[in-house]
Each structure stands twice: as C-alpha cells, then as structure tokens.
Amino acid sequence: MGVQIPKEKWTGKIREFRFGATREEGGTRSKQIILGGVSTMPFLYFEGEMPHEPVIAMEVIDVVRKDYPQIAREPFEGVIESPTEWAKACVEQHGADAICLKLHSTNPEEENKSPEEAGALVKEMLKAVSVPLMIYGCGNVEKDAKVMQVCSDVAKGERCLLGTADEDSYKSISVASMANDHGLVGFSNLDINLAKQLNILLTDFGFKPENIVMDPLQAGLGYGLEYTHSVIERIRLAALMGDQMLQMPIVCDTTVAWNSREAKIENPEWGDEKLRGPFWEATTALSAITAGADMLIMRHPKAIKMVRDTAKELASNGGEK
C-alpha cells in the first residue's frame, strides 16, 4: 500500500534557557538544566527534536497555611515546617530537578516578612540543595519588587528563575533579574496575544529573550484546563511556525489542581482520594506537557512519579533521543 508518513516541516525552534549555573559558570549548582530547544510538537520525534524530557520543579512554600491539602502534606510530615528540609526531601527522596521557592510569607497582608528575611532564606536554600532554584514572590507588586531585588543579589551568579512578571509589574522584576543575569517567568492570562505582548514589552525593555520563560496560566483539571491546553498548543504552533516572540520555553504550575474539591475531599463516589488527588494533579500536568510545556511546577510526589514515568514512556522508542 505504501502509506506515506506525513511530516510537518517546522521552521521555528524554541530558545534554550540555561537554568542554574555550575562552578564553571560562576554559580554553585551541581548541574545546569536546559529548558526548550524543541523543534516539534511534543513527543513527535519523527519530525523534530525534543532534546529534554519535561523538567519538574517541586514547590516549597516558606509558610504552609491551614488550607494546604492534607494529602499533599502527608509525604512531607516532619519537614514541611522547614523550607530547607522540605526542599532537601524533594531533591533527595523525590528526584526534583529544581525547586520553586514561593515566598508567601512576604505578603504584607500576612506575615509581612522583610526582603532581608526572604533573602536570608534564599541563601540558606542555595546551600541546602544544589539543584537550580526558582524564586517566586507573594503576588503583591510593590513588595515583590523589593523582595526580588534582594533575592537576586543574594543568588548572584546562580542563574535562578525569578517570578512572576506580568504586564503591569514587569519593570521592577526585570531590573532585579537583569542585574545578576537571572531568568524571568513572564505571566500572562490564558491569551496567546497577551503572552506575546509581554515578551515584546520585556525585550523592548532590554531583557534578553533567551532568559524569558512563559507561564500562560495553568488552569486545573475540571476548571478551565481546556483553555490552558489550547493556549499552550497555539503558542507552541506559532513558535514552530516562526514567531520569534513566542519561541520561549513554557512553564506550568500544576499545583493549582489542588484548589479543586475533587482533588482532595473524601467522597466514595469519586474513589480513593489518596490516588485520585495525585492523579488529578498528574492529569493536569499531562495536559500541559502534551500541549507543549517544557517545565512543570508540581506538588505531590506521587503525581510527580506518575508524570515522570509517563513522560519517559512517551519519549521511548523515539528514534534519535
């Protein structure tokens, strides 16, 4: 019969962000992770390159509040109160590629920790673990500007990813990030045009495009997942077709999956929550990586194992790997 395998000939390629700096590069990370470098839609090795499996950063929050789901807390019982111990467990026991440190306690409405306290924690964190580090603020624009300034200086030379910059707040965080050659996570709200607009603003401001990672807003399973799935696919297709202002790696924060009741409450109708919860997060993550996400920020060790194993299987038999 002679079936002709139809292949797409993409002209575009995703830029590579070098995440984390080793000693040779002036940092102290044990290895560097490359995000991006992709020249195909996910896992279609017969027509392009996907040189790296999706990178998984594990979430560590500097203050864990009451609403943190019990199922996700259990694997870290005993260490979750200490961000550095928690991060060590992520790296040593669960193979985290990176840590995403969320500085929630700097929120002026809550604990209102000072930028210096946050900086001290970042310093400790860099000593406690040797994987690359993402540093996220609390979401308060004025406070984040100050916190990121200090954290950027403390982590000088480590090539961290600072986050997140949006259309209104990108200037201060870009300045903080550029000062020490860190990367930046640009956040846009489920819209390919806004994602592109932010990248244009950042590059016009003088930020290097190869230091930008995009967060197009991950919606959880059951709560708008399809919007994220399609926005990522549209961004990635446009990038592969040659749109340079969308050729940045994509990161998705799938911890959002835990906001839904379906992920965490006990309900026999919905099945065992000890499996259902992790699978809820894993499904959210699989939707992201099949659409085109290069990196995930994840929470539950079991969900992470599920996603990692599945990504490995998707990458197998792929020919040149």
Binding site: V3, L221, G224, W270, L275
Partner: protein
Amino acid sequence: MALTAIEIYKLLPKTNCGKCGVPTCLAFAMKLANKQAELSACPDVSEDAKTTLEESAQPPIRLVKVGTGDNVVEMGNETELFRHEKTFYHPTAYSLIIEDTLSQEELDAKVKEANELQYERVGQIVKLNMIAVKSSSGDSVKFAEAVKAVMSKTSLPLILISDKPDFIEEALKVSSSNRPLIHAANKDNWQAMANLAKNYNCPLVAFEDRGLDELAELTQSIKKAGVEDIMLDFGKKPLGETMRLLTIIRRLSAKKNFRPLGYPVIVRLESDPEKEALHSAIFTMKYAAALMFNDVSRWKMFPLFTLRQNIYTDPQVPIQVKPELYEINSPDENSPLLFTTNFSLTYFTVAGDIENSKIPSYLQVIDTEGLSVMTAYAAGKLTPEMVVEALEKSGASQKIKHNNIIIPGMLARMTIKLKEKSGREVLVGPRESSGLPKYLKGLADGK
C-alpha cells in the same frame, strides 16, 4: 474532503452537452462543488467518476455507531488535529472489558460497576459508554452465554472480542439486534468476519499490528467485501509509539484524506491500573476514538471523565452553569449577596474564591449566554434589569433579609442604575475575583 470545482470537472465527460441544464461541464462542476446540483443530473457520467465523487462527499474519518437507541455510541467524524482549530466532536468512548471466564456473581458485579459508573458534571451526564465481552474461555457456548448475561443486565452497547468467526457468530446470534462492535478481523479471518459484519449489519474492527501499510490493506479488503463501518486497532504498542501512530493516522485521514485509514481508532490499555489511568489521559487528548479498560476504579475514571469533558468542550460554545442562586459556605438570611455570570470559568473562579474566604455567602448567577463579566456587559447581556429579574426568579428576597448586593468591581459604572432598578444598596466588590476573600472578610469585620 470535498473536491474543488476543477477536480470535479476533470471527472466529467467534458462534452458541454447542456443536458444537465447548465451550458458547460465546468459550470456544472462549479455547481456540484457548491452543492447546488446533483451528479445524477448528468446522463453521461462514468461509473468511476460517480464512485470518486460520492467518496469525496464522505467525511475524512468515518462516523461509526455502536449500539442502538439512547445509548448509541458515536465515534469518528473528526476533522482537526487541535481542538482550537474548530472542535473535537465525539468524546473518546470508554469501555470496560469483561471476560467470559468470570463466575456469574463476578460478572454481575462487574456489569453493575459499569452501569453505575456515571456522574453529573456542569449539567452534563458523563459515563462509561460500552462493555466489551472477551472470549478467554476457549468455549463458544460460554462466550455466547456471557454475552447474553451481560446484555440482560445492561443497556450499554457491547463489543465482542474474539478472533474466531464461529465464536463471534454464536455471540451475534444473541446480540446482533443491539448492533455490537465486532473485535476483530485480522489478516487470516477477515473474510469470514466481514461476512458476519455484513450479514448481521454490525461495525467491525480491523486488527493489524505489523504496520500501517498492512492495516490499510486490511481495511481495503474489508471494504471491498461490503463492510463500511470499520474501526482500526493497530495492536498494543509502547505508549510513545501508540501516541505517535494515533497522531499519524489522524493526520493521514483528517488532513491528507487518506481513505484506507479514515476510520476511528480503538486502543486496548495496559493491565497495570495506574499505567492504564495515565495512558488513558494521553489517548483521550491525542486521538483515540475508543479505549478498552481492564479496571474502571473510580479514582481514575472520575478524573478521566473530567478530562474528557474538558478536552471535548466546543471552544466556540462556552460551558455554562445554571443561572440560580448558589449557597456557598452555608449562608443564612444575613449573609452577603453577590452576583456573577453563568460562564463556567467565571462561576468556578468566583465560587472558589468565596469558598476560600470561608464567609457564608449567596452567589446569584445571571444568564449571560456563557459570556464573562466584561464581555457580557459590553454586549448588553448583563444589564441591571437582568440582575433584578434573576433575583426575582431565584427568590433571593425571600431568603435574604438585608438590602445589599455586591457588584463585580469591573461593573462599578453600573452601580447607580442597579440601585435604581433593584432598590438595593450596591456595594462595589473587587475588580478581580482573587480579591474576594480579603473583601468579604473585611465586610464581615465591618471594615
């Protein structure tokens, strides 16, 4: 895929005889391409041309129906690689495999599990779609008995799994009225299987695990034998390969109009329950028309149903929630009253933020035809009159003693009009839903 006028013209006699009522063959071809004329109007068209033109009018992926009546399952007829290009039409059909070696009790329990596996989510019923009865006993009588037993206890359509035509025939004798899917014809048995499919008018799976060339040959043979309703099974392969084959088949059929593989694909899953769950998620997003599960535990099926619902949502038609008065955190007559639109994403976000605030509240949802707050306002689908009407309909005034209503911050400019129309004191809420916990707590503390 439809042919262009020029492609059609090449198939016509090119005599310009005018017998069709149109002066030239080219003009007739243009009418055909625009579906303004019927090919039968041309008395001189060749049989070959007829076949080609008829085929070109078929969808690129055949629509296959299994079962009868209300529970009929439709698969195929997809046209896109990515849902944002238009939509995905027929949600991946989930089925449970039941083996004929089970005891009566085990079989009953499995059928019951399958029957009861359904949920209502955002106004839609989501459920298991089919039961697959598998011949594992090596006994055709036992197989037919199992099929009969399953049929007597379920209204779900069936899949009959055996590669032995005589086994399938025994089963068809008791089940053909329900139009089960036959699984499967292969390179050795296809003639007998195709005859059965034809005689009993049932859809047939073509199974071939050696490669797409061989699979395409098999479907051609089956089609020549007179069977139209065909599905594809390319055998169990590693996950990555399966996903790539599904992608290639979708491209070949939907985009290249390659007829021999223009059929919906059915995939059999791993026996490991966790792998089965994870692989199903991938195949639901990437092009499987049907999946055969070994285990349908609720921890996996509930998230999968949700994923399937998400992915197969028509991007052109937003999911809507019912326009009602929703009670969040068990409110009483003194609890605050808010309103928002019936676009599901808006509702879920607002309801979630209110829930997180832990403040008991009422949330009135307005029917904005699925538009978000700002879009609905701009389009005139969210007016003070509509808010008042919704409140009257839901009986909010009977449930709530106070005279306040919280307006989304984005709609601040509607404040005065809403006050006039509703007679309520209008409080301007935060511009973003994420500001609600703080806002509601502040309200409760009397700030």
